[in-house]
Structure formats: structure tokens, C-alpha cells
Subunit: 243 residues, 2 copies
Amino acid sequence: MNKRLLLLSNSTNPGELYLGWPAKHIKDFLGEKIKKVLFIPYAGVTITLDDYFHAVSTQFEALGYKMDSAHNMANPQKVLSEYDAITVGGGNTFQLIRLLEDKGLIPAIQNAVLNGMPYIGWSAGSNIASPTIKTTNDMPIVEPASFNAFNFIPFQINPHYTEATLPNHGGESRDVRINEFVTVNQSTNVVCLPEGSLLRYENEQIFFIGKGPCKVFRYAQPIKTFKDGDDLSWLLDEGSQIS
Amino acid sequence: MNKRLLLLSNSTNPGELYLGWPAKHIKDFLGEKIKKVLFIPYAGVTITLDDYFHAVSTQFEALGYKMDSAHNMANPQKVLSEYDAITVGGGNTFQLIRLLEDKGLIPAIQNAVLNGMPYIGWSAGSNIASPTIKTTNDMPIVEPASFNAFNFIPFQINPHYTEATLPNHGGESRDVRINEFVTVNQSTNVVCLPEGSLLRYENEQIFFIGKGPCKVFRYAQPIKTFKDGDDLSWLLDEGSQIS
């Protein structure tokens, strides 16, 4: 009903302090009424979850929010309702969804967010706001029970989007990969978020904010391109893929 | 017993004709006795399977081999034994394993190869010779029933391996991704094949051939580096990850 999402492409641009560019967007999104934020660090693989939580909570506390981490709780789903907002960090999407499954957190977080708890994600944390994890850029290092994700939005996000390719390398470009996705998933749009950009969803509207262009891939349709401040609410309509 | 594998990183180097650099290796591996080769085109997504088969069979026929494609057969597993070798092309690894599962081909091909049918793969086709598809570079555009693959070798292959990264882009490098894999799969080695290189397995021995270096990632161990002609048979020993 009153779903509120802030879906960031990435945590940090080159040369910035950690969570640099998102800070003002996080503050604007959470505002002054929010006090306690629950952090989900499970996407972290080559960093300890303690270190990950320390890095993130330092920035959130500087913005005026108290933060706890799910990895320090025996049953995070039982205390979810004590928090005012939830934040899911990046890392490996497969590891993230696998641990959310194992801990029974997917329905609990879905329920909280559908009932109005503000949700912030970046990278893997934005990916899983989509219906599935099928547009992640990550290596499938662990096997989840399912590719199904939170399904807060009716389209897929591709974070860290770039058109750039490595010279003299035959691996698929990002555009080739996303074209593969829409070829086998013809009714699902893909919204590409370049680094330094985000989607903000509230009041049943969705806006693209930040460094563009934001490209939308649709099966057998020309790519649509959007810029800072553009309204993408049309993506929320059923059948938007043939608009 | 008499397993024979030719596992190529990629089909074609920049500026070459299709299947350019592998041609001499394929001819040397298949030799003169092989007549009929079965092609598995299922990794193809944005190319029609007819077009894919045409491109590959043109090259194999130029080398003196007759080729048929599984996508033109109602029950390819029933006629597998009529062929002298099997070739699995690249594309999307998730699509490939999903279609092999759907057509019941995984046990049939495993059985044929374990009984001596020579196997050639490139890119996704080399990936699936590993125990799982967990070191693919591909986007998970479809959900397979399982990440389990042919398991012809006791380690993972990473094809199209490169150390290069995109400037000013925060996405994970290949090395970061493979380090994530060995962090959560500590007993499994990863053999990285740069483009223009391959592994050749026969007589219970395995050699690295082509443009190096070939890097082997092992959990909590220094990366080992190999060059053209090096013997990697030590990877076939149980417990090789702690050698």
C-alpha cells in the first residue's frame, strides 16, 4: 500500500569515502522520524560481517540513525518490527538470497516492506527488490533454493550498469547479457542503473535519480533512455513491456 | 576410464575467423578415425540454433568431420551412441544446463564420455565439464533445476579469464569473484583459462595449452601460475587443494 524503496546502483563511486554519493539520498529518504535501522549484511563474502556492519553503521550513525545488524541476532525476523527501516547491502547476490532463504527472512521482510517499512538496497540489495535475481552481475558461487526475490517491483534491475567493454576480450558485454535476458523472459523489462544512480519509489510512483542515462531494455522494442528526475511510473503498469 | 576432453576457453580470438585458433587443436584431438560429431547448440540465446549449427558445422566439416545438431532431433539421447564425439558450444551457461536437464541429456552424455566418447567444449561448454556451473561468468537468465554439471573433472573452470577491469567502475573484478567462490567452496580449486587457451585431458593426464598464464585459485593458498605445455595432472588428485 505505502511501499517505500530507495534502490541504489552502488555504494561508492571511485575516489569517494564509503557510501559517499548515497548519503544525501539516504538522509532525504529516511528523514527525521526514522530512528532505528536494521542492516542485512549477508551479501558480504570476502569481508567479515562484523567489518561490513562496522563500515555501514559508521555512515548511518553519522547521518543520525541507530543501526543493528541481522548477523548479530539469533532470530532477526522476530525483532524486525522493532525497526523503522531496513537496509540490504551489496556483495554477492547468490550468497545474499541463499542466506535470506536459510534464515526464513524473505517473507518477513516482504511483509514488513509491503506494510510500509522503508527499504534501502544497493547493488545485490537492489537486485533482490526485483521479481528474481536473474539480472545480477554476480558469480553464482552458491546455489539458492530459488531465483525468486522480494518482488517489490514488477521489473528487473541491473545495477553497476555499464556499456563499457574490455578491449580485445571476447566475453559478453552487459548489453549482450541483458538482451539474452529479455530474449528468454519476454514479458519482463530490465532497468539499468549506472553507478551513481538510483530509483526512488513511494506514493505508487517511481523516479530515476542521479547520473544517467538510465536505459530500459524491453523485448523486441527499442531501448528507452532516461535522465535525472525522470518519472518511470509507467513501469509499474501491467503490460508495460509492450507500451 | 578412457575419458578424453578438450576444454577451450573461447571459440574465437579478436580478428580471427570463427573457431580460428581452436581449429588445429580440434583436428589434433579428434584425429583421423573420428567421422561423426554431435553438436549441442543449446547455450545459444540471441542466435537461432540453426544459425549456430551452421557456423560450427561449417568449420568442423572443413576439418573433415560430419556434424549433426541435437536441436534437429526428437530424442538426441537415443542416437548419441551413433556418434564418435560430442561438441558443446558456448553461449549462456544457465540456458545450456537448463535445456540439457529438460531433455534428459546430462546422464546420457556423462555415460558416453565416461565410456570414452571424446568431448569438446568451449566457454559454457567447458564450464559444464566442471562439477558445477558456479564459476560461470554468465548472467542467470533462466533458473536450472540444479547447478550440478557433468563433473568430468574435480575442479572448476573459469573460461574467458581476464585480470583486466573497466576503469572507474566499481563492479567486482574477475579475481574478486573467484576469491568469493573459493571462500565459500574451500575444497574446490578454480582453473582460469585466458582466451586462446585450453585444457587437454586424456590418459588420466591433463595439460594446459595455449596463451598463458593459466592461474589456479585455491582457498587460503597463493595463486599458482602455469604456461603453455605445463602438466596440471596434480589437479586430478583428491585433496589437491591443499598441495
